[in-house]
């Protein structure tokens, strides 16, 4: 059966994921070392140890994302995070930064290392480099590849691959995107926040909802239209004669129907996005995907059912897996 890797922004979400059938849970510390550094989210050292114990007792694994890029002169925060993750007996750390990977390989050789999507390793050469140089055992592939490209990559590498199958969709070269930084001064890469809520404002006028980021209105929705989270890549802009979502529509990834194809492509693990979401989201999505991977493992078709009501834009897409361009 394919491994289901599920998000947890809080200890309650971790328990919800385990109880709903997650094989593996990924989470992060409550600081800028992880790419979901949102207010009220994430784990203290004590909470992580308790979460690992809860998961291990029920046969599930825990991964810790330490996937931002350390600031020069402040590497200690990231080094401590790796050491504390190992102390908490986690099953692997998810890293992106070359220096941090080198540090982990040298000082924590027995701690399994996964390559974060933030490293944007999208071809066999890059992946084989990370595997050879830092002993990376699994790579989380960027959300820019087709199933055929994933198949081709898997033929040329010896490490496991993990791909996103559900949740918020990032279309940029992850770990390289500067859109959030451009407008707010803070980025997922350095601060762990894309479009930080401290820079987000919603203003309702006569039923229309303006979503603002860094003081700029980047989306206006009429009364009955779904509301977005204001990220620049999903904003509504004027370009020449066109007004619309220039980069990407505010919809979310749902690749449940592609699980058989992803299995055939040699993918080891399926990842669900959403550490910033509630335990209700985690429980429902994990349950749905667990049923799907069990069905595929048993040779049955993927059960029907949509999770669109949970998604941004209330609409789902298969993203780059079935690549079409405007």
């Amino acid at each position: 059966m394919m491994e289901l890797v599920c998000p947890a922004g809080t200890p309650a979400a971790l328990r919800a994921a385990v109880d709903a059938g997650a094989h593996t849970i990924y989470c992060g510390f409550a600081d800028e070392t992880n790419a979901r550094n949102f207010p009220g989210l994430n784990f203290s050292r004590e909470e992580l140890a308790q979460g690992v114990d809860y998961a291990h007792r029920r046969g599930a694994k825990v991964l810790v994302a330490i996937n931002t890029f350390p600031r020069a002169g402040a590497e200690g925060l990231w080094h401590r995070a790796v050491a504390d993750a190992e102390t908490a007996d986690v099953d692997a750390v998810i890293l992106a930064d070359l220096g941090l990977l080198a540090h982990a390989a040298e000082h924590h050789p027995d701690l399994r290392r996964h390559l974060s999507v933030q490293a944007a390793a999208a071809n066999p050469d890059a992946i084989n480099f990370y595997a050879t140089a830092f002993g990376v055992r699994r790579v989380v592939l960027p959300r820019v590849l087709t199933v055929a490209e994933i198949t081709a990559i898997n033929r040329e590498i010896d490490v496991e691959t993990e791909v996103f199958v559900f949740g918020g969709l990032c279309v940029m070269a992850e770990g390289r995107c500067s859109l959030s930084s451009y407008i707010t001064g803070k980025s997922p890469n350095m601060n762990g926040v894309c479009s930080p809520p401290s820079h987000v404002q919603y203003v309702e006028t006569k039923g229309a909802l303006d979503a603002r980021l860094g003081g700029y209105t980047i989306q206006r929705n009429a009364k009955d239209e779904p509301a977005p989270y204001p990220t620049l890549c999903k904003g509504c802009f004027q370009s020449g004669d066109m007004t619309g979502h220039v980069f990407e529509d505010p919809s979310s990834l749902d690749a449940k129907d592609l699980i058989p194809a992803l299995a055939k492509a040699g993918v080891t693990a399926l990842k669900i996005e959403g550490r910033q979401r509630s335990r209700a989201y985690v429980a429902q999505v994990v349950r749905s995907f667990r049923t799907a991977v069990e069905a595929v493992a048993a040779g049955r078709p993927v059960p029907p059912g949509t999770l669109a009501s949970l998604t941004e834009g209330q609409a789902a897409t298969t993203g780059a897996y079935r690549k079409t361009w405007r």
């Binding site: 207010p39 809520p197 989270y229 941004e312």
Partner: protein, 178 residues
């Protein structure tokens, strides 16, 4: 978790109307006692707020003629009720059932926001911190109210469960439902 596309049950006007004229102070006092009990039993409610522990939160059930103003504090949490919208750092508005469903883990807060069933204005960061703090505490207001009722609490629970089934309002923690 239930499908959020199901219409939310609303408070019947027969029950909501009296809040337009009854004294609000005793109700606010009872809610404050409940909130302080919650903070004692779930310290994460405060610690997860981090820098937003001094913020004020207006919780506005759109089917009730009152707004609840929450001022978190580790030992002096305070709730007041207002007929006119109070000033607050962050405001979260929606049907009472949606707000209760958010507290009890029945519905996902982001999904409620995407579908426009929930409205957030003011300090988005503070609102998010409160949402995450509440979600992690796995609150069960039905059980907490029963707990406040002393020896009668156990007798109260079946009535709370019955009220939940009859009204469709999420009055218990999602995971606690039979």
């Amino acid at each position: 978790m239930s499908d959020i596309h199901t219409p939310f049950p609303t408070v019947p006007s027969l029950l909501a109307k009296p809040l337009s004229f009854v004294p609000l102070a005793p109700i606010a006092q009872a809610l404050t006692v409940l909130a302080r009990r919650l903070v004692t039993r779930h310290p994460g409610l405060i610690s997860r707020l981090g820098p937003y522990v001094d913020s004020s939160f207006a919780i506005a059930p759109t089917d009730l003629p009152v707004t609840l103003l929450l001022r978190p504090h580790p030992t002096a949490m305070r709730i007041t009720l207002h007929r006119d919208p109070p000033r607050a750092d962050a405001r979260i508005a929606g049907p009472l059932s949606a707000l209760l469903g958010l507290v009890h883990g029945t519905w996902d807060g982001d999904a409620l926001f995407f579908s426009r069933d929930l409205v957030i204005d003011g300090d988005t960061s503070a609102a998010l911190a409160l949402r995450n703090a509440i979600d992690d505490c796995e609150l069960d207001l039905g059980a907490e109210i029963a707990g406040l009722s002393g020896p009668f609490g156990r007798l109260l629970m079946p009535f709370i469960d019955l009220a939940e089934r009859r009204t469709g309002m999420p009055l218990r923690r999602a995971e606690a439902r039979p």
